[in-house]
Amino acid sequence: MSKGKIKEQEILKTIRAEENWEPVGPTPMPEISDLRRWDRRLLKTYKPFYAPFCDLCCFCTFGKCDLTGDKKGACGINISGQQGRWALIFSLMGCSAHGAHGRHLVDYLIEKYGEDYKIDLGGQVAVEAPHIRTVIGLKPETLGDLRKAIEYVERGIINGVSATHMGQEGNDIDFESKSLHIGMLDHVAMEVADIAQTIGFKFPTSVADTPLVPLGWGAVDKSKPVVTCVGHNAAVATVMIDHLMKNGIYDQVEVTGICCTAHDNARYSDKTKIIGPLSKQLFFLRTGIADLVITDEQCVRCDIPELAKAAGSALIATSDKISYGLDDVTHKEVDEIIRLIVEEKKQVLIRDVDKAGEVAAKVLPLVAKGRTKEILTKEKAQELANKCTACGMCDRVCPNLLKISAATSGVRDGKFENMSDLFAKCIGCGKCEQECPKSIPIITLMQAAASWDTYNVRVGRGPIHDVEIRKVGAPIVLGTIPGIIAIVGCSNFPEEIEEVVEIAEEFAKRKYIVVLSGCAAMAAGYKKDAEGKTIYEKFKPEFDAGGVLNVGSCVANAHITGAAMKVANIFAKLPLRANYEVIADYILNRVGAVGLAWGAYSQKAFSIGTGCNRLGIPVVLGPHSAKYRRLYLSRKEEDDWTVMDGRKKELINTEEPSPEHLSTVVESKERAIITLAKLCIRKNDTPQGRQLKLNHYISLYKQYMGTLPDDLQNFVRNDKDIPIVYKKEVTEYLKSVGWKPKPLLTLPTLIGTYESNIPIEAVVK
């Protein structure tokens, strides 16, 4: 540690260094530059690739400065530095959203239960918090310990933000290192938030086979009073559900949710319903099916007050992060607030969780009284569309480049197929409508073309169980389970929402482990097979070959990366405690896990992805994510792929670009599938494991590209790696490209390939 004595003592005290569950590793509570050498090593192979979204910088009053090409700003920053700065800013925004979420939950629960309230994730989860253990070096036992973890994240955020100030950091690689650091902290923050809510709201844990809950707007019984919670923080909803039960009316109402609050509501009570991801927020709120809308935090539209008013829904905002300019009635008596909502039709802000929950439960039946909720009929839709001139103004503003005019003019002419297709691809922004010179309510028209079927999602299960890790650890590391495909993130999908299901199913059928979370987990439920089954009914819910699991909301993503860490710990027996570099190196070289964020749009998704990258997990992104403006790409076989053979302590040029990229964007579903299969390849694969991985890579490549992969020579180390079914043609192909066997090694590691305090022995167990 390059820290002063006092600070060192402080850290050792915070992490209770005297507890000997594991020796304290080299980096307890790392500061923003403590893992800089690891980052620089990663970034040497996976260099930042920038696609500037803006040529200018307008951060300070010296600007605007044009940074095109080799021009510098008045402060001296160049275009790469500026892109790195954006990357850091995005990571900070994402990490702060989860951090503040975690802080809110922890503070609320400490008020309720006290700071000594125990962390207990059930009999199946002994390694309760791999991120907190690995990054901080603390084995958290209580809510008070979670508060320590969040305080650590908060300190990191201040430092990170300060570096973005004009006249501070200017080097792109250092910005990226800081961004990676903040991404790492984001996973700590998410872990805190999910553990806090799991113990505080008594979500089921240590259960794989969680119930299925109804999914879709069609699942809602609109004859009952309907409340819709929008956002990511289920605290208010849990209190509301308790009150609804206490008042004896829970079965007479519909508790629904959009986005991650819906996932967490379902973990609290499987009688709740999930409407869908963010992309269906505007569509659903416009229907007016919700009698009461409750907003909390993150991914909530900024115009909900307006939408709720137009649809006749009452609105309670509950977070100090989204106050909408509403009157803060937190200090008023419950009955008075109810009167304001019911009689004065006021939209209110209630910042007290318990009070907001109580008001919501009491006000729901009252605001629902006398409301009729009519879904737009085809006839009425045709009437509303009759002024469409097919002018195409709507097409020009669509961020998903959709052909809206064909759909609206179709409806005008009584044809709804194009509108149904449009709805399947629409990301729900509402920009088309705002542009229409004829004021055609395009989003409303979608009601007449949407499917009103009911689907389902498996309730989020939280952490992966230690016993599951014990079972799959060896096959994952040896490669005989071909990979873990984590399908996560938001709903800014480039094409039909169903693509997510198709990708998930392709890998589940091939016995990869498919893990989902957040909006992607909802999207995966939106398709039924011929027998009417969704993907959650077709595949087992275990973390095992061929399993399809939903871990839960966005903050549950920490359990996916946590599972990779647990493989290093439970299977490979590497200590987690303050041992980040060793664990990340292990995952990069030996755990074939890849993330797919097909519809990533938020800064949270960016920071989650960046945190995955620091931990050695590659991420594939959909085409919209080119607008994040930063990727981490290798130059494939042209780069230097030398690693250390940990056993022989020799540097070996493996000539193998695996994993090929750390963060990449692909344009089509087909390519995404191929890329995911390829990015599961790890240097540690046994011949048997490599054969299996190549078998899938080849078969998928053939299916979608029509030939053998033209980079196959990069991933065949010797004859034993060649899949038997393709032996003849692969051998011929390799001969034609002049392939030669590559050096073999037994324990690949980057430790020893760069200056580091970590001895090579630390990776050999």
């Binding site: 690739f49 040529d55 085409p623 964007v665 692909v666 344009e667 390519r671 029509g706």
Partner: protein, 177 residues
């Protein structure tokens, strides 16, 4: 929009594409290239220009001017069906990453390209890739062959209706002969 005298007042940037309305003029630029490359994006597989797919126009352009080809996304399959073996297969961001390096060997290992044409990418995604090249690859010129203005390209077509686009591509091919 005109540029302000003092660049500090500029709206969104100073360097943008030149829209070339005349296919002959574009043809002239293309003919000057020594090592041109045509990059196929997935959208040109499905666009039918009156019995001929957009990708087929791309193939014809590449053949006529002797340009190397790169299949991105899943376009390789369609090219093979059309009897064309692309010179390289990359994701769009991968080929762009290579093109940034002036010393790269190029897809035919004869040196980096001096002109890169794009056909069939999503406009938003394509424009991002072109931004990378605008900033980091001053050694090459970029041309977009889709019927949309791509602000980050060196040369772009105008926003064209399908019939006009077809006509443009046909005239362009003629001018390349």
């Amino acid at each position: 929009m005109s540029l302000p005298l003092h660049y500090v007042n500029v709206l969104t940037g100073l360097k943008g594409c030149r829209v070339i309305e005349d296919p002959q003029a574009l043809g002239k630029v293309m003919k000057k290239a020594e090592r041109p490359l045509l990059v196929f994006g997935p959208r040109c597989i499905d666009i039918d220009l009156g019995g001929k797919l957009a990708i087929e126009y791309g193939v014809e352009i590449a053949k006529t001017m002797g340009a190397a080809t790169c299949a991105t996304a899943h376009t390789k399959k369609k090219l093979l069906e059309l009897g064309v073996t692309p010179d390289s297969t990359y994701d769009a961001v991968e080929i762009i990453n290579h093109l940034k390096d002036p010393n790269w060997v190029g897809v035919k290992k004869q040196g980096n390209h001096d002109l890169v044409m794009f056909l069939g990418m999503r406009t938003d995604f394509g424009n991002q890739g072109l931004s990378t090249l605008k900033h980091y690859a001053p050694h090459l010129k970029t041309i977009t062959l889709c019927p949309y203005v791509y602000p980050h390209a060196t040369f772009s077509l105008a926003n064209l209706k399908v019939e006009k686009w077809k006509e443009y591509l046909e005239n362009l091919i003629q001018s390349l002969k």
